[in-house]
């Protein structure tokens, strides 16, 4: 079949040509003029929402003008599975010079000997200006390993009109938070005049790390926790303590009684189906757009030992790979300038990472609508997620426990199982021993 062969081969050859043409034409990477003798630094960041990425790109551009002898290459890594990708690179020794990572994973990176201490590289004024929550998150022992340009806020957004309608008081600070019993009363009162009886949105549709971030404060507020914080060796008796079981039992009851909206379309609050939304700072702009005059921010309820809330977001660290840590620290200094911190905060709505920026923030300054978030982070109301290399297992187990509890598995059983698995992992890893200088 010579004719067909010719035809076949022609197509094959044309395809090959097209292939190499396309490839050949695209060889060059982007990038402008770089002065010779420049220091090259590679920065990895998560590919978040568009506004965040745009601002970060602009910040890198501004930094280039500020310090042309430092050539920054910005690499965006998909947000989903971000940590897994970084871990994969870490094993191969392929780490960047400056790494962005989710705060709770810090201990993991320190244990793996990936990061260097920052206190000698950053100016004391900048460090002193950082929010206390960020210092707590980034510190291990005597060293500061990471900083952050922003932190997260967690609370209850509510429709003021509906709260006033049932005569509920509106707490203005964490010390005034509703007790759990009071909160339940409010839920029931709201449900009476609600169409489907569901008045609270807990973003159950998110899943993943949200469950740990959003709901572990419940444990802490009840006097329990995910793990004991003295040596981070034992979870049994802590995550499944009677207080923990009682607190999460309350939540399971709310779900069972239909007070919690499953929020499948992620729009329960903005469409007015619910009056309360248990969520982080990131929903503020959407909620404000829906209810510009009826939105109020309230602290999470007090389950016994005071209202607690979550903290921790994307942190920056300098890796052991970095050929010039001081220059890398210059980049971090730049990102922590008040104007830059505010630029990022305006883009992603998060709490600015430095107190000077908070003071100037329209959202988080005194009289700002989200002032409560800043106060919680500055006032020690927020609790960092457990700072241990065991964190990946702790969060996985707690997330699964929450899923089970939400699906009506007995609370005790779900928490017992999580405790057992966490403790087993810690034993398997010999308690995650650190070197003395880490």
């Amino acid at each position: 079949m010579p004719g067909q062969t010719c035809y076949f081969s022609t197509r094959v050859i044309l395809s090959a040509l097209l292939l190499f043409l396309l490839f050949g034409c695209n060889r060059q990477d982007g990038g402008g003029e770089v002065p010779s003798g420049a220091v090259h630094l590679e920065v990895w960041a998560h590919a978040g929402q568009e506004a965040e990425r745009t601002v970060l790109r602009e910040q890198v551009d501004r930094f280039r003008q500020h310090a042309p002898e430092i050539d920054i290459t910005l690499v965006f890594i998909p947000e989903r599975d971000y940590n897994a990708q970084v871990q994969a690179a870490a094993i191969a020794g392929d780490m960047p010079d400056i790494l962005e990572f989710d705060g709770p994973y810090l201990s993991n990176y320190i244990w793996q000997n990936q990061l260097i201490p920052l206190e000698g590289l950053l100016s004391p004024e900048v460090i002193a200006d950082l929010l206390p929550s960020i210092i707590v998150q980034g510190t291990r022992g005597d060293h500061l390993y990471s900083v952050a340009a922003f932190d997260s806020g967690l609370g209850l957004f509510a429709r003021r009109s509906q709260l006033e309608g049932i005569g509920a008081r509106i707490p203005r600070s964490s010390s005034q938070a509703w007790s759990a019993a009071e909160f339940e009363g409010i839920l029931r009162a709201l449900a009476q005049s609600d169409a489907d009886g569901a008045v609270l949105d807990m973003k159950l549709n998110y899943g993943g790390e949200w469950f740990t971030f959003g709901f572990s404060p419940i444990l802490q507020s009840a006097g329990a926790d995910l793990i004991e914080r003295r040596a981070y060796q034992r979870s049994t008796g802590v995550i499944n303590s009677p207080e923990a079981v009682a607190a999460l039992q309350r939540v399971q009851d709310w779900i069972r009684q239909g007070l919690v909206d499953p929020n499948l379309d992620d729009a329960a609050f903005v469409t007015g189906r619910v009056a309360l939304s248990w969520v982080g700072h990131w929903e503020y702009s959407r909620y404000r757009e829906a209810f510009p005059d009826d939105l109020v921010l309230v602290p999470l309820p007090d389950f016994g030992r005071g209202s607690r809330t979550g903290q921790g977001s994307w942190n920056w660290g300098i890796t052991r790979n970095c050929p010039d840590p001081q220059q890398a620290a210059d980049f971090l200094h730049f990102l922590l300038r008040p104007s830059e911190v505010l630029a990022m905060s305006n883009a992603n709505g998060a709490v600015p990472g430095t107190e000077s920026a908070v003071a100037r923030s329209p959202l988080y300054g005194i009289d700002g609508p989200l002032r409560l978030f800043a106060e919680q982070l500055m006032g020690g109301v927020s609790v960092p997620r457990p700072r241990t290399p065991a964190y990946p297992v702790i969060t996985t187990e707690f997330q699964q426990a929450v899923q089970r509890i939400r699906n009506n598995v007995p609370v005790r059983e779900a928490l017992d199982r999580a405790a057992a698995n966490i403790d087993q992992d810690i034993r398997d890893n010999h308690g995650y021993p650190f070197k003395s200088d880490q």
């Binding site: 599975d81 897994a84 871990q87 994969a88 870490a90 094993i91 993991n108 244990w111 793996q112 000997n113 899943g207 993943g208 499953p262 499948l264 379309d265 990946p392 297992v393 996985t396 899923q403 089970r404 699906n407 598995v409 992992d425 398997d428 890893n429 010999h430 021993p433």
Partner: protein, 311 residues
């Protein structure tokens, strides 16, 4: 199965021939063999080795041997056991339904009507979509609430009697939802194979049967099915193997939930290794996976071989 030696004209020369091509044969086969050994066999043996240790991703601690601990743990883990169950249920759903559908479509297309090639291409189109993309599209179709495509379609079909459901988060509907997605993506491939086999059945056989008075159903049972025995066996075997490899859709659409209703062996293995960073545990799971599928394959081939021998 035909082998080279069967086809020679001089069996007496077999012994001589058996090795004469050796140098050339090794040259021909070496690149592929080297690739398979380095990049498929060696990693599997490494996984086997790792399954007896406690390796954790990126751990600074020295490696330890833990014997069968990983295996005893995974077989005591409800998530893993559920995964095994899910894979089996999934295979039992997909294989018959997808094969029957492929056969049905093949039969429909195998008619002397115009435009059949167009239909063949249309049904094959989903096969060219990467599974990751297919999953994203079907997330939209399974969207909860009355706006979701499937929900509104079912509401329309049942004249409003259908209550909108969140398929991907319903413990009973999630696995069937993934099954539907997989069938949609895979049936075109099987159909093409079966169609080609159907088209190669000589028309005279059917003519003779019709003249003899056989009805359509009898023609199907006595002519069509026997002629399809080989391709059907092939298609069933491949689909079964693929059913146990189920991963992409679970990763993107349900993340193994709700409550492990859709988790699979591969999903548990990948998450153990990359999510919980417990590499040794993931390795043990893949060894179990390989053993199960190998056994199934051998069993299926034996059954098919026996049937071929007896028919």
């Amino acid at each position: 199965m035909a082998t080279p030696s069967n086809r020679t004209n001089s069996p007496a020369l077999d012994g001589l021939r058996r090795e004469q091509d050796a140098p050339t044969a090794w040259i021909f086969a070496l690149p592929a063999l080297a690739g398979l050994i380095f990049f498929v066999l060696a990693p599997f043996l490494l996984a086997l080795f790792l399954s007896f240790t406690n390796l954790r991703l990126g751990s600074p601690l020295p490696l330890e041997f833990t014997g069968l601990r990983q295996y005893t743990r995974i077989f005591a883990d409800t998530a893993f056991l559920r995964a095994l169950q899910n894979n089996t249920v999934f295979a039992l759903m997909v294989v018959p339904v997808q094969t029957a559908l492929a056969l049905g479509l093949g039969l429909l297309i195998n008619q002397p009507l115009r435009g059949m090639v167009v239909f063949r291409t249309l049904f094959f189109t989903p096969v060219i979509f990467p599974l990751s993309l297919v999953s994203v599209i079907w997330i939209l179709i399974f969207a909860p609430g009355p706006d979701g495509t499937l929900n509104s379609l079912l509401q329309w079909l049942t004249l409003g009697a259908w209550e909108p459901r969140d398929f991907l988060h319903d413990p009973r509907l999630a696995l069937p939802a993934i099954t539907v997605t997989s069938i949609w993506q895979g049936v075109g491939f099987q159909m093409v194979i079966l169609l080609a086999a159907l088209q190669s059945i000589p028309a005279e056989l059917y003519e003779a049967a019709r003249v003899d008075g056989a009805r359509k159903r009898q023609q199907f049972v006595h002519i069509t099915l026997p002629a399809l025995k080989n391709p059907l066996t092939f298609v069933i075997l491949v689909t079964t193997i693929l059913a146990f490899r189920l991963f992409d859709q679970v990763q993107i659409m349900t993340r193994g939930g709700p409550n492990h209703a859709t988790t699979t062996v591969m999903y548990e293995a990948v998450n153990a290794a990359f999510g919980s960073q417990q590499v040794a545990r993931g390795a043990a799971m893949t060894v179990v996976f390989f053993t199960i599928v190998l056994t199934l394959t051998l069993v299926q081939r034996r059954i098919a071989g026996q049937e071929r021998a007896s028919s």
